[in-house]
Amino acid sequence: MRRASASVGRIVLHALVVLAALGVLLPLYVMIVTSLKSMDEIRSGALFALPQAPSLAAWKDAWSHACTGLACDGLHAGFANSLWIAVPSTLVAVALGALNGYVLALWRPRGSNLLFGLLMIGAFIPVQVMMYPLVRALGAVGLVGSLPGIVVVHVIFSMPLMTLLFRNYYAALPVELFNAARIDGAGFWTTWTLVLLPMSAPMLAVAAIMQVTGVWNDYLLGLVFAGHELAPMTVQLNNLINTTTGTRNYGVDMAATLLTSLVPLLVYFASGRWFVRGITAGALRG
């Protein structure tokens, strides 16, 4: 009797798990099948059906012909822009975050707690509050609509998370390591580069994963600070799906959505539990 009810429980549990997984996966499935269908097939009201004659035409259109605002040459320029923006934004932000974390966890100069507190509160300020002054400040030095400009903005807004990740990571290391290095006469920079950075590989990876996905998925900062020439993929995607000219081709829309999500999804599925670690490290110990 006991065993029977236990196995019924297992069956209900498995059924719920399968149902939940299918529900969560459904939009991904719909995106993929829609992107492989012709417009006639899409119009037939079979949202969930497999494509009858799978074709990559919509993908080609999305990549090189779809209209994203004034120009009609697809998302490929946005892909390059996002890449150009994401790489330096990640390198600079992770390096600065590691340096900040090192100083705030181990050196703790006077005022560093106050600075860290201010930084953490800054993480919660809506971007709109700081946006116009930053546009003006960057405009004054000619950086709005330039690569250095958008990179600086991404570094500014990622500083709290990057700093927090490394501060907590370094604070959890045995302090003897740090003390031994100092007794051996290692200075500020050598202690960091030769003792701590070589041990930071896991957190460097976690921080880079968080930052690449964060920057790639950003829309607002790219819209305001990158300008037309450097518009990232998310901005182009939004222009594409909300364009009012011509008839909408949902196949192209979904191919474009998948293309835009490709990098973060690949990073996510390849990095597995590191991504989870980034979320929980950033959230739980903040």
Partner: protein, 289 residues
């Protein structure tokens, strides 16, 4: 001594970020909110006039109403779905790793992409409504995305789909800290598993829930991309939100003073929402010390 100077020098970028980037620009925005600034900042002081205008602006008041309703529904949906997903993953020990991977993948997608896919699924001509009608239910209606009374629900659906896995991940981290003896004791007493979760385990995850709540709350206030991608504030003004009001008045309408006042109201809202959590943390830290 030299090392200390190096340590201080290393903090210059982060100090500039916090003091000039965050504090400085926030103060500048606060200052602009008490001036008659239009396209460009002006020094013409008007006191609280922009705030008075803001709170007599129908669109702003509607945006606030929308944000409140959206926030309550979105947070409830995420906490509920996140708890269910966390329990499912916690129970399915064999498939735990890749189940978590599946439940969390939407969180790796941008809000623009999220909005794009849900806008397609929910569109009345070819989306779910068309599927229902193709199945023979000719009166089937599912046109919330173009229904002013229901459009916010569609934004809740899309963004909760994106963020529930995130809540799950935070709760799973909390669940891993639950004492295994507790499960043994509950089994001996013959308490059903679901009761152990609802009455004993979940109440122990207070800190994880509080963390999730803080992050969801700030996400609510920042809601912008998903609205832009899904509805652009429509139909009409039915899904307008404060961030979009601010953006539209900064750019389209060139009304810096009013936009700044809106931004400051948003900031005060965030700080007011955060205050109880900050207070609780400081209290907890003080009692440990």
């Amino acid at each position: 001594m030299r090392a200390t100077w190096a340590a201080r020098a290393a903090l210059v970028p982060v100090a500039l970020t916090a003091l000039l980037g965050y504090l400085g620009s926030t103060l500048w925005t606060a200052q602009m909110s008490v001036t008659a600034s239009r396209t460009l900042p002006s020094d013409h002081f008007v006191g609280m006039a922009q705030y008075v205008r803001l709170f007599s602006n129908e669109r702003w008041l509607l945006s606030l109403d929308n944000l409140l309703l959206y926030g309550v529904l979105f947070i409830s949906a995420c906490l509920l779905a996140g708890s269910v997903l966390a329990i499912l993953v916690d129970r399915e020990i064999a498939a735990r790793g890749w189940l978590r991977q599946i439940f969390l993948y939407p969180y790796a997608m941008s809000f623009i992409a999220t909005g794009a896919v849900w806008q397609w699924i929910l569109n009345p001509t070819d989306g779910i409504q068309a599927v229902g009608r193709a199945l023979g239910f000719s009166a089937f209606r599912f046109d919330w995305i173009v229904d002013p009374d229901r459009v916010l629900l569609t934004i809740v659906i899309a963004t909760a789909w994106q963020a529930s896995g995130f809540v799950m991940a935070i709760l799973l981290a909390g669940l891993s800290g639950v004492d295994p003896d507790l499960w043994r004791a509950a089994r001996i007493d013959g308490i059903p598993t679901w009761r152990v979760y609802t009455s004993i385990v979940l109440p122990q995850l207070g800190y994880a829930f509080a963390t999730a709540l803080v992050l969801l709350l700030t996400g609510v206030v920042k809601l912008y991309d998903a609205v832009v991608a899904m509805t652009q504030g429509g139909p009409g003004t039915a899904s307008e939100v404060p961030t979009k009001f601010i953006m539209d008045h900064l750019y389209g309408r060139a009304n810096l003073g009013l936009a700044s006042a809106g931004a400051i109201v948003l900031l005060v809202t965030v700080l007011a929402l955060l205050a109880p959590f900050l207070y609780a943390r400081t209290r907890a830290a003080a009692s440990i010390a």
